[in-house]
């Protein structure tokens, strides 16, 4: 249970087509992440799957049956919203019980399931509080609780962590990943944060302007980005993309080298420049380098603490075997 198939799905708002014809299969039990810059259509795509928006043409199949014209509740999916969307006038218990109440389940079963969910999500101490009395992280757990009690065939997450502070976000990321390992239910997760995508996904779908740029596992996207857009979007800090004469040396329109694939050398290197900003994180040092003659500012990651500072000369050697080459259309050259 939990296979979702999109066949030639399109979506237009008025005369603007936000999703051109799109095909996608989300396999059972998979953790799929839709990632892309804001406005790329990833949330719209999720809402189409949920049934909160009607598709303009095409079909959506859930577990082999056509769900295109089914109302949200009949699709067997649960959704966690960015704003949590908890019912402010109900206690945590009633919030979690609400979908079961709507399903006309008997009270004993409701109580059993709500208690089980509260146990799993550490909500027992807050069960009789209202959402307004909870912290952001607790609210998000209630929203997840409300989703899991229904035992849906798939979970849909719409940027669920973007309202949380950085530390909490890392914690909740882990919790959601663990939840997936335990429940083994299909999860579709929308985010603009590529770190979330890389750390959580089995499969990442990179979107731009409603078009799928690439589908693959996190490391596939990292190692073999299909085009310049994916190369620049996946990985942090961003891949260095160099065009012009230097790229021509490699028979390419654009070459890409990740910051971690450039070695800092003593004295002159293949590329030379001056340090603009040095970010010392202890475990790593990020250098932003100017005046390389490559036309672009370079970002370089060095392991450990390297004691170069603003204005210092620096020599760099890119690792040729880790270099990515792209043609004039921006596509990868094998």
């Amino acid at each position: 249970m939990g296979q979702i198939e999109l066949k030639q799905v399109t979506k237009s708002f008025g005369n603007t087509q936000v999703i051109p014809p799109l095909d996608l299969t989300i396999h059972e039990g998979e953790f799929t992440v839709f990632v892309g810059p804001s406005g790329c259509g990833k949330s719209t795509l999720l809402r189409l799957i949920a049934g909160l928006e009607d598709i303009s043409s095409g079909h959506i199949e859930i577990d082999g049956t056509d769900a295109t014209s089914l109302v949200p509740a009949k699709r067997g999916l649960a959704m966690v919203f960015q704003s949590y969307a908890l019912y402010p006038h109900m206690s945590v218990r009633k919030n979690i019980a609400f979908p079961l109440k709507m399903a006309k389940m008997d009270q004993a079963e409701i109580d059993k399931r709500v208690n089980a969910a509260a146990e799993v999500l550490n909500l027992k101490d807050y069960i009789d509080r209202r959402p307004g009395q909870l912290s952001g992280g607790q609210r998000q757990r209630v929203a997840i609780g409300r989703a899991i009690v229904r035992e849906p065939s798939a979970f849909l997450f719409d940027e669920p962590l973007s309202n949380l502070d950085a530390a909490l976000r890392v914690g909740m990321r882990l919790e959601i990943s663990e939840l997936h390992k335990r429940l083994k239910t299909t999860m579709v997760y929308v985010t603009h944060d590529q770190v979330e995508a890389m750390t959580m996904a089995d499969k990442i779908v990179v979107l731009q302007a409603g078009v799928i740029e690439q589908i693959g596992s996190p490391l596939e996207l990292y190692r073999t980005p299909r085009n310049v857009f994916v190369a620049g979007f996946i990985g942090s800090p961003k891949m260095n993309l160099i065009t012009g004469e230097e790229a021509a040396k490699y028979d390419a329109h654009t070459i890409g080298v990740r910051p971690e694939h450039i070695d800092v050398v003593d004295g002159e290197g293949e590329w030379n420049g001056t340090v603009g900003v040095a970010e010392h994180l202890g475990s790593d040092t990020f250098f932003h380098i100017h005046n390389t003659g490559l036309g672009e500012m370079l970002t370089v990651r060095a392991i450990g603490d390297v004691s170069l500072k603003h204005g210092d000369k620096i020599g760099l050697n890119p690792r040729k075997n880790e270099m990515h080459r792209f043609d004039a259309a921006g596509l990868r050259i094998a």
Binding site: P72, A78, M79, A85, Y87, P88, M102
Partner: protein
């Protein structure tokens, strides 16, 4: 940064606020005061303020001559009925305008409001004929319908404004959770909009209670509410100011008391959405 206010300025604005408040309140105060005077004192020139013989006689006469409780009961039924019925019809209407607006929603809202700009007397003749044909003259049901319809634009507008404040994602969540449209409105939207609905109820109850044009023109005896009760004391053979005042005081007392106890709710409701 908070603006600094000098003491002098504070005194002036406070005095001005009190002055305006008292000016607005004065007619009501004068009515209540007059109701305790004799007819002669009521029209004496110069007017007497407190140095008169306080009497309850007017109240006794008014109660003796007309059945206050019957008028009161009619007012309660008509104001309450038209308000409750209006809310029941307006909640789904405001829901659709707030959450599934069409390109014409704004126009419809403005058109509804524009009907309030027509003088009521303009519709008196056709409406009276309609009442005659439908046998609705001097019935509480007829008045409930008329007041409900004439207040409908205000009810819809108020509810629409409150509903717009409710995040759409919460309603979408309830749809994902399996709520039907009816359950969505009943379990989620209405409880969340309770403060707004309460102040809408209250304001419309007051408007319907005070409505004098239709209640005077479309009733005679059976369905006459308190407005007719007051009017019956402004007789052509001479004004009995003290008795008129006593009748007025009795008529406005219930709504004044209701307003007094719910003023917090009323103010909150009326400014709801103005400040985030």
């Amino acid at each position: 940064m908070a603006r600094s206010v000098s003491t002098q300025r504070k005194i002036i604005t406070t005095a001005a606020a009190w002055l305006i408040g008292l000016l607005i309140f004065f007619p009501i105060f004068w009515t209540i005061l007059t109701s305790f005077k004799t007819e002669a004192q009521a029209i004496s020139n110069p007017p007497v303020f407190f140095n008169f013989d306080w009497t309850l006689e007017n109240y006794a006469v008014v109660q003796e001559r007309s059945d206050y409780m019957r008028f009161l009961w009619n007012s309660v039924i008509i104001a309450g009925g038209s308000t409750v019925l209006g809310i029941i019809i307006a909640v789904p209407a405001a829901w659709s305008m707030a959450f599934v607006p069409s390109a014409k929603t704004k126009n419809i809202l403005l058109w509804m409001l524009s009907t309030k700009m027509m003088p009521a007397v303009g519709a008196l003749y056709p409406l009276s004929l309609l009442f005659v044909w439908l046998n609705l003259l001097d019935t509480r049901f007829g008045l409930i319908m008329v007041l409900m319809l004439s207040n409908m634009p205000i009810i819809v507008w108020m509810l629409y404004t409150y509903f717009r404040e409710i995040p759409g994602e919460i309603l979408e969540a309830s749809r994902m959770d399996g709520a039907t449209l009816r359950e969505e409105i009943f379990y989620i939207l209405t409880p969340m909009a309770i403060p707004g609905i309460a102040s809408t109820l209250l304001l419309n109850f007051i408007l319907a209670w005070n409505e004098a044009f239709w209640t005077l023109n479309l009733t005679a005896a059976k369905a006459a509410p308190l407005t007719a009760f007051i009017a019956s004391y402004s007789s052509p053979e001479g004004l009995f100011f003290a008795k008129l005042s006593a009748a007025s005081t009795m008529a406005i007392a219930p709504i004044l008391i209701l307003g007094w106890f719910s003023q917090k709710q009323l103010v909150r409701g009326l400014t709801f959405g103005a400040v985030k």
